[in-house]
């Protein structure tokens, strides 16, 4: 994805270790907003 964005002209970087590394380093986190949650089908 980063490569594709670069090809489209965006100055893109990849964060080494992703969310796990960010959390370990004590970086600020926030809850995923309810509106952003993907609704998957359920039987209930």
């Amino acid at each position: 994805m980063a490569h594709l964005l670069r090809e489209k002209g965006f100055n893109t970087f990849v964060i080494v270790g992703g969310l796990t590394a960010w959390r370990k380093a004590g970086g600020h986190l926030e809850s995923v907003p309810k509106d952003d949650l993907v609704k998957l089908p359920t039987f209930s």
Binding site: G9, F13, V16, L19, V32
Partner: protein, 270 residues
């Protein structure tokens, strides 16, 4: 065949139980072959049919129930883990859930015969809030169908199995050649993949400390952090880097239209 029957006579019930339990937990064990062998052992009066069926059913129901509750309590995390083994992890969860939902609850009855769905069915049912009683009824029917089908195959084809197994020595050399060829083809495939994706490794990378320092500087307004995970968005209570936005990896062409070109974009996943 006699050797196989000897093993089945000594360890038949435990072997059947162990292999089917392992398969129900998602481990790649040849449970169907164990059932066929057990069926042949029943035909030769080495094992008792009802007892081996019982061992198989108990193993499957315990393993599937464990998967069901893991799916229920881990939400989509367990499926995310299982999906990492798939060709396209980003769409695996959504596709599996939709497919399971469309085909209906009866999928559980035939799931054991379908590789892939077999592993996913019980945790999917748990994640999708199916009632446990209903799951157990459907899983019971599925386990009974699966066990009795393969036991019957073994029971009816005992003589054929004996003839096949006696030819194993000759088949051994052919198998060696097949394995060597498969390894060579796999090595070539990996080599081609390595060359094809070599360009992706030159992507600039930043350490989290470097990013944190930039966010604390006056230059922070030129930073856009983008979450490209899929799995993180199925469970309420999931977290993300503060201030980041999400891009749906499967809808990249549309998502790109909303991205600013005057900012540096930092991508992250799990």
């Amino acid at each position: 065949m006699n050797y196989l029957l000897h093993i089945m006579a000594r360890q038949g019930y435990a072997l059947t139980f162990g292999l089917l339990f392992a398969e129900a937990l998602g481990l790649p064990f040849p449970a169907a072959i164990a059932l066929v062998a057990a069926g042949a052992a029943v035909a030769s009066h080495t094992l008792s049919g009802p007892a081996v069926l019982l061992a198989s059913m108990v193993a499957l129901l315990i393993g599937d129930s464990a998967q069901f509750w893991l799916g229920r309590y881990s939400g989509w995390a367990l499926l995310g883990f299982l999906c990492r083994l798939s060709m396209n992890p980003e769409t695996c969860i959504l596709r599996s859930a939709e497919s399971f939902y469309k085909r209906g609850k009866a999928t559980l009855i035939i799931a054991k015969f379908i590789p892939g769905i077999n592993t996913m069915a019980a945790p999917l049912a748990g994640s999708m809030k199916m009632r446990f009683g209903q799951f157990l009824r459907l899983d019971f029917v599925g386990a009974l169908l699966y066990s009795s089908t393969y036991l019957l195959v073994g029971y009816l084809s005992r003589d054929f199995l004996a003839a096949t197994l006696s030819g194993f020595h000759a088949a051994g050399r052919a198998m060696e050649m097949i394995v060597i060829t498969a390894l060579v083809v796999y090595a070539i495939y990996r080599g081609v993949q390595f060359r094809r994706y070599k360009k992706y490794r030159v992507m600039p990378r930043v350490q989290v400390q470097e990013l944190a320092a930039r966010l604390a500087s006056n230059d922070a307004t030129r930073v856009l952090i983008v979450d490209v995970r899929s799995h993180g968005y199925y469970d309420s209570g999931s977290e993300r880097i503060a201030g980041s936005i999400r891009i749906e990896p499967n809808n990249l062409e549309e998502e790109i239209k909303n991205l600013p070109k005057d900012k540096d974009i930092y991508l992250y996943c799990t």
